[in-house]
Symmetry: D2
Subunit: 334 residues, 4 copies
Amino acid sequence: MNVAIIGASGYTGLELIKILINHPKFNITYIANSTGNENVQDLHPCLAGVIDVEVSKADASEVAKVADLAFLALPHKTSMFFAKELLDLGVKVVDLSADYRLELETYEKHYCPHEDKEHIKDSVYGLPEYYKNDLKDAKLVANPGCYPTASLLALLPFVDYIQEDSQIFIDAKSGVSGAGKKLSEVAHFVNLNENHHAYNPFKHRHMPEIEEKVKKVKNKEFQINFVPHLLPITRGMLVSVFATLKEEIDVEKVLEDAYKDSEFVRVRKTPVDLKSTAGTNFCDIFVSRNGKALFINSSIDNLLRGASSQAVVNANIMCGYEEGEGIPKIAYVP
Amino acid sequence: MNVAIIGASGYTGLELIKILINHPKFNITYIANSTGNENVQDLHPCLAGVIDVEVSKADASEVAKVADLAFLALPHKTSMFFAKELLDLGVKVVDLSADYRLELETYEKHYCPHEDKEHIKDSVYGLPEYYKNDLKDAKLVANPGCYPTASLLALLPFVDYIQEDSQIFIDAKSGVSGAGKKLSEVAHFVNLNENHHAYNPFKHRHMPEIEEKVKKVKNKEFQINFVPHLLPITRGMLVSVFATLKEEIDVEKVLEDAYKDSEFVRVRKTPVDLKSTAGTNFCDIFVSRNGKALFINSSIDNLLRGASSQAVVNANIMCGYEEGEGIPKIAYVP
Amino acid sequence: MNVAIIGASGYTGLELIKILINHPKFNITYIANSTGNENVQDLHPCLAGVIDVEVSKADASEVAKVADLAFLALPHKTSMFFAKELLDLGVKVVDLSADYRLELETYEKHYCPHEDKEHIKDSVYGLPEYYKNDLKDAKLVANPGCYPTASLLALLPFVDYIQEDSQIFIDAKSGVSGAGKKLSEVAHFVNLNENHHAYNPFKHRHMPEIEEKVKKVKNKEFQINFVPHLLPITRGMLVSVFATLKEEIDVEKVLEDAYKDSEFVRVRKTPVDLKSTAGTNFCDIFVSRNGKALFINSSIDNLLRGASSQAVVNANIMCGYEEGEGIPKIAYVP
Amino acid sequence: MNVAIIGASGYTGLELIKILINHPKFNITYIANSTGNENVQDLHPCLAGVIDVEVSKADASEVAKVADLAFLALPHKTSMFFAKELLDLGVKVVDLSADYRLELETYEKHYCPHEDKEHIKDSVYGLPEYYKNDLKDAKLVANPGCYPTASLLALLPFVDYIQEDSQIFIDAKSGVSGAGKKLSEVAHFVNLNENHHAYNPFKHRHMPEIEEKVKKVKNKEFQINFVPHLLPITRGMLVSVFATLKEEIDVEKVLEDAYKDSEFVRVRKTPVDLKSTAGTNFCDIFVSRNGKALFINSSIDNLLRGASSQAVVNANIMCGYEEGEGIPKIAYVP
């Protein structure tokens, strides 16, 4: 199937290119960014000797001529305009931005007014382990945020066992590639190197995303208290979920049962690390209990499982291919 | 005052030497390790051109001849034998090991049988902000663990406001110098670089130390659920304490009131980072609230405030000097 | 074709597994290390969910039953015993150790007495750009050292233009994965992090390897003055070659002509970096001139082009496959 | 003596503040940057609890009222205007920019037209080991560049022994703090982390500075071929000088003789590293020989010996104090 990548300049755009080049079913026919007129090797020198194509200035009608599915690796708000046009032209969309991840009301509260109220209500949340059936028929998939991916995969199996009036705390740590390619104080080498710190505690926009999906999938309302941190590394994400159980259950069994059929979730017997998932679509999860105190610990590659490879898994399911077709299981970094 | 450093080979021994060389009141008269017969510059090449003395094979009676106070930077269990001898010879002791930190019963449960039951009951826990009066007359000070230092300074001001039946979670992250100079899989560069992971969740021996001190200082019993992590950096420690408040209090005010007279605790308006405390004895603390959910966030240098500089602060107080005499407030790394 | 990997525990063994799993022509039938009796996932946890086989205790006659070609990722000296046995049993060998890289005399001078004098004289040096014809019929290929690979690819095109009586200097920098998986002072995180230093200046055993190959390929004798350094990173190798030209030639043209038909050498217009070659088999080269002073600058992934992926290229050529069959051109790290 | 720091916002300005706060003879009376109206703790949060003063908008006549000596940590070209004004008002100047380092002609060729032709000819080059006598009476000291400091201290002892028609090559590596506080592609964390590369080979403006000083100090003309690199670390600088000797001399003895009376140069028996000099004013040097091939290897902290602490050493000498007064010999980072 012919596919387009819109938003090729950033880190997730590059990862999409790298995965799709070797994909046995998808064929890249269109690569675009906001300016065009540049060889993809000038954008990403690591692609010299690998792929030699011109990057176009993004244009939905051109996409519709050459592709059946488009990956949008665009900033929030820019994405919804493209998605709308593409969907109206009959092109399937996997959107890596936040634009279609939330209920309209939640979105407008935390982001901005939405310009595509028609499609947002039909979008499918692209967390394959929990939305596989819906994904099969989807025209528009909203690829989850990186933090929600790692947090929900850890938390969802345990939601039914958590004390109803208790607080859930998530202490999450990400490599700085999640902050993107744009220069920033936070990503200035001298500022981050040998350093580590939280940012936006209780105020990150992935917090309502996690809360909403817990409610939708499990029909339970919890206050999620989310504190993200930056690690002095390029990629990888480690999430610690802390909660209070109703009773002292066998947490390992709960976790194993939840993912016994999942190709891309690995239940681990020891605390997870970033190395084992870096460069892959795997989510590794470990769980431990201290009386009723619960600790669930997950690890993903923030740019792959947290963005680009999960997007291709979603596309695989939308197109009726095997979930794992062309998806990296061994390292694919940097 | 003449002082001895026993255990000069490790990281905390080196930091003690670096601080005491420039201290206006203390004069190093004896440096020892387990082998002796080596110039201190061969142990620590960075000391060439700075200090040129022979390292002795540790011997308590020799210490007693030349020093009034000894810093012990020794492994747990080795330390209690030296401390006992030195105290019996009239030498004051600041012990950086765990040997005198806990009640006898707690110690023997989590470490090993204790060989100095006489002195353990008189030791003072060297967290200056909470034990200053006791420190003034102490003969034996047990320098706190690095994690307990950062955790207790964050947690103690809030203990009275936390829901009594609720869980307290501590997600702590340390640079790998805390694991010491000995070669280990965990500290092998390839294993840790670009990596991050928890270790010993709910099982680290600093967990009972925190629980015990919360009880002793605040007379409240809480289950502390402690999960330490390794950061791919040399030094620094970031602690996140998560708890549930009884009611929605003004947490900033509680924190400011607690430390308004503390020379070495800085209350911050934004999440703390490691850079600002690295190389100093400062503990930086930030607090935030989401309804009743509480997040307290502290940062220290694990080898200084978490070990060597706090030891020298304790010695200052024991000897009637100013708390901050000779203590690094600006970077002192590596 | 069925292949065996002997020496699966180390870093190059792991890279071989990762490449060969996805190789369209080679089929792994045997994986061994010195102990055996272990699942490959216990050796390398990143392989969970990817490959699930028992690692054997290495045994040449077992190899001969199931494989036509063996990759040896063994220490120097151990390797020659296996190679000899395998060759006598009719199994082709790609040896990643130093055992067959040098003339017998050079080898015995810099390493140790050689136990397989029969095969060493027929081994082919596996630097594909310069030995492709010999590789086609080879039974035994000696995979080059990592430093010689990067140094020779940079230097060889210019040898004829360098002043005959002048010194050639090579300042080379490697990530620490080159030092292997074994714990060592040099690879202790605290020692290497935020650090950088030379080691074995003028005494590294890759120095005579470079000298010998310059002489064999170009029939010119030069004193090569080689100084390797360790970088505080996991992988990647940057080589600077400095030499004095006979006259002020067009060095860019010389370089471009040398590699215009090479699939895995990319001539760059700006100084090369490690990111662009990390995870691939590419060697990037840049050249610059200041009057008669010459600077040639090459970059490779020390574990791939410097070891495992180059080994698979050599195997491809030995077996009549395309040189680039199954070889990583986009990142394949860690 | 009262001193001013002009240019307090950058990394070298911060290091000056940190050194001068604890200096026993100098008293900071004025701190300025280009905007003023800000507490120094807002510029540098690590200074909270250490120093609490307002930063002024830089004004030479205000400086003259409160200080006898000013440190200028300003960009090239800005510096000469301030220096001129200050000198005319009778204030001594230590200038950390390039504005007074070179002969007028060399400066204008490599930088820009000079606006203070009067003082440039009387400035003293602040490399204390080679200019101590001139520094004693200096009104204006040009603090050397970081690369020239490390390169000249390594090279100068050997200049008389190098073959006269031969090329000298310098392969230099710096931590990225040398590139300053301003955001840049090169210092974006994702770009530099796990990376390493040369920049401006044969074109860096420190190259003519080294050439000129070799000629001035030793009266020998050599072509210096200088290639700088960026290391994925915050601070530290390692320099490799490669040259061809006239004959096979005892290079260790030459080096030891050159620096036997130098407080801040340490001759090492093994290759130098960055850890040992980080945070200090030391320059460590190692030398090795391979026949006539010479390798000299030096290490400094680029922000201290390469800038701020060397500036204070120069000020000490200008003011008749001991060279090492208040100068860090043990770590002072970050």
